[in-house]
Symmetry: C3
Subunit: 347 residues, 3 copies
């Protein structure tokens, strides 16, 4: 795509184009980070980015910039095509999609797929090789199911969902519009519920189901369990990374982000816009308010109020944790001083 065409598209996309300079209307072939970009590639810089000085040396042929006169001047001096935008990162996302349009699915039901009785399938649906779909499922228009996916019975898949290879969807699961289910993830599996008896653990039947609202993503290898009764619920626009565990009966709000290896135990309630960093744990029936941020490896039990930033285990406010963690290193020294003082005090 020519740089001039890209500018036209960015205008149409309403991503906040402010101004631009076409120094040389080259064909943009791909995107790259500023330090690795080569000729015919486009890159971007955000306000305050520590790589800003790289604009002096980058080999990129085009750059998306914040509205910053100095950066624009360097781009002009270096004869690099440029555009300034309110959010260069967002514009770069749009640009990458424009120059690398996602592969068009086949719109084909592969002859090696095995489809049960009473399955309704919408228009323009693509079902890959070796896919197995159980009885009484419904699959809406524009759904793409990659090879090797196994869908049990009574599953509802809404418009334009994409399910990647070898994922497994258990009975009763409802998947909202435009969700993306990544490879080898498992939705609607049995929750880990057992009753202690004198003869060992007896399974509590898991008769509930899983609901994903629209535009949810579930990462590779992640698991969302169904509960004994009721449902496990993932709010619209919530994005879940790889190898995350969502226990039975958990509910999350809208637009949360959960990084890799997060584990949320059964019955926890997560608010809207919550961000959980890598390897965070949330305990059974914990309650996490809206917009809470938990830094990596923290562990939440009990209740966290809306808007809090927490760290550590047990999780405490981040500003306190930072000071405590910094003092932790001084523990042996503190003990030594304390013993000296104690000796003096008793002397």
């Amino acid at each position: 795509m020519k740089f001039s065409q890209l500018i036209t598209k960015l205008k149409e996309s309403q991503v906040g184009l402010i101004s631009q300079g076409i120094q040389n209307d080259i064909e943009i072939v791909s995107g790259a980070s500023i330090e690795l970009a080569k000729e015919l590639e486009i890159t971007f810089l955000e306000r305050g980015n520590i790589l800003a000085s790289q604009i002096e040396t980058t080999n990129a042929s085009a750059i998306l910039l914040p509205d910053d006169k100095e950066l624009i001047q360097v781009a002009k001096n270096r004869n690099i095509n440029w555009a300034s935008l309110t959010d260069p990162r967002l514009a770069f996302a749009v640009t990458l999609e424009l120059i690398n349009p996602p592969p068009k699915p086949n719109e084909l039901i592969h002859k090696t797929s095995v489809i049960g009785d009473n399955v309704t399938i919408g228009k323009r649906v693509s079902i890959g090789a070796k896919v197995c779909i159980g009885n009484n499922c419904s699959i809406a228009d524009d759904v793409v199911i990659h090879p090797g996916v196994v869908i049990y019975e009574n599953v509802e898949i809404d418009l334009a969902v994409e399910i990647h290879a070898n994922a497994v969807i258990h009975s009763g699961t409802k998947i909202g519009k435009r969700c993306v289910i990544h490879s080898n993830s498992v939705l609607g599996s049995e929750g880990f519920g057992f009753v202690p008896t004198k003869n060992g653990w007896r399974k509590m039947p898991q008769t509930g189901y899983v609901v994903l609202e629209e535009e949810v993503e579930i990462g590779c290898g992640s698991c969302v369990d169904r509960p004994s009764v009721g449902k496990t619920y993932i709010g619209a626009g919530t994005k879940i990374d790889n190898l995350v565990q969502i226990g039975h009966g958990v509910s999350t709000g809208k637009a949360c982000a959960m990084a890799s290896q997060v584990g949320i135990a059964g019955g926890a309630k997560i608010g809207d816009g919550v961000i959980l960093a890598g390897q965070v744990g949330v305990g059974n029936r914990a309650v996490v308010g809206d917009r809470v941020i938990a830094s990596s490896k923290s562990g939440i039990t009990g209740k966290v109020n809306s808007g809090e930033i927490v760290s550590g285990f047990p999780a405490i406010p981040n500003r306190i944790w930072l000071r405590c963690a910094a003092t932790f290193n001084k523990l042996p020294e503190m003990l030594k001083i304390l013993k000296t003082l104690q000796k003096k005090g008793s002397g």
Copy 2:
């Protein structure tokens, strides 16, 4: 199922029925938690449950109660069918199974499955679509294998085992009676054993195998590795949640419970009835006594004596850890006081 029929079944099940009141012999259609239950649904309360007051407002048509006169009186007043039992949770488990009997398997070897040479298959076995079974396997009566499962060679699967979709079972694995292997889990994979050499890591061949005793459950995405020599052993009735790692040569006792994202490193020995909460780690060759409980995120190295409850990393007795963790928040303040005292002391 009519409530009166359920009462009859609960008597037969010997789950400790004490008394009951059939106020209105309705059809019970499903189970629900007390705060969400609707008409025609059954719920339960345990002794001391914080939701006990919800019995005043629940819309459930039937309730399983402890032997508590006040609760029974409320049920009577509100015209709710009730039963009192020694363990209402256990009775609820039995009830859910009675009103939601697990789907009857197909008893069919799907024509798209690929079955190797010299495989013995018992009676009433169900083998789903796209299942691959290697040579010299034995599959006992009443086994259910869901679509997409891959079984390598020389695997022994005992009576009434259920293996969920896309799980992988490697060579030599022995799976005991009534085990449940959940979706996308992997049994008998190569242990992570390498010998350092001047040319990098050289693989230690993993010639051992994995044994699951009867009634073991392995959660979705969990991995049980085989060792270089000998076996990795999971004791009868041990329940393992999703995304758990069991390293090569680990042995566990009977009736353990391991929550999601637990990791047990190679050669660790776990006793009977051990409970490991979410994200717990157990180090190489650690020895964990019977009935040990490790709270979430704790890390065990070395030895933990039978009956201990441990927390933190390195894991210490839980009662001490609770006090230490509570004091951790005061570290900056403690340092400040200490410096003041030190100044005074030297003044």
Copy 3:
């Protein structure tokens, strides 16, 4: 294999054979640990091994020893076949491979596999049942692909790679010579990249790809994500255990070892020969120098210099952490003493 034949093979393998004693040229049937070895089995001992005294009681028929006169004398006295070597563990690895040669692959493209257009396939390639391979892939000589594997388009697989059952390889991935990809792992999946907007999270297209250099291993259920631009890179000889997350744009050096449940966030740079123990986390864009060792559960953010051994979160030098962790238990007592001193001081 007769013990005498094994000695001949060990000489040929150049694993540092020093001397040997054939007491009784039995057939060696398998390997075992010293405490469990039975007749006709071979075992080994390393220098300083705490099990050394077991040589007095082992039932093994043969043993690989360090160059230690006392141990050799015991072996002679007990009429056990022995060999002394510079690295008995390495020799045991070679021995296990000699007596348990890995199963010879089928060299067969199974008729139920589905292979796309323009796929080049080398000599002696084995492609299992139900394997799906997308268009424009290249598969070199001696590659083994087990049942159920799904390979998207434009994937390059070099000589003698082995890919285990139900693994998924996404578009653009390049897998170097002799790599081993274990069951249910996922390579080249979309990185977890989203741009915050007023309408929620917008996906940053992930247009990059994943490169594994030669002799890399990726454990069961592990995920290696592709980045928005550029590549995620795993250096030659790096071994990755089960359930590990490698984020988008990570690069690792050569001959690293990463234990189970390690998580490396996007953009982190890992040097050569780095060892990360179980459940370690590495933060976004962290920089980890060559030969760094991080003990289990530690969390690295920022930068760690080459050769450091770190522990804890935030990770600090191991020697300091050990002392701090030992003092942590004393926190409540320290607080008590401090309050007493403060009272006195102010009295």
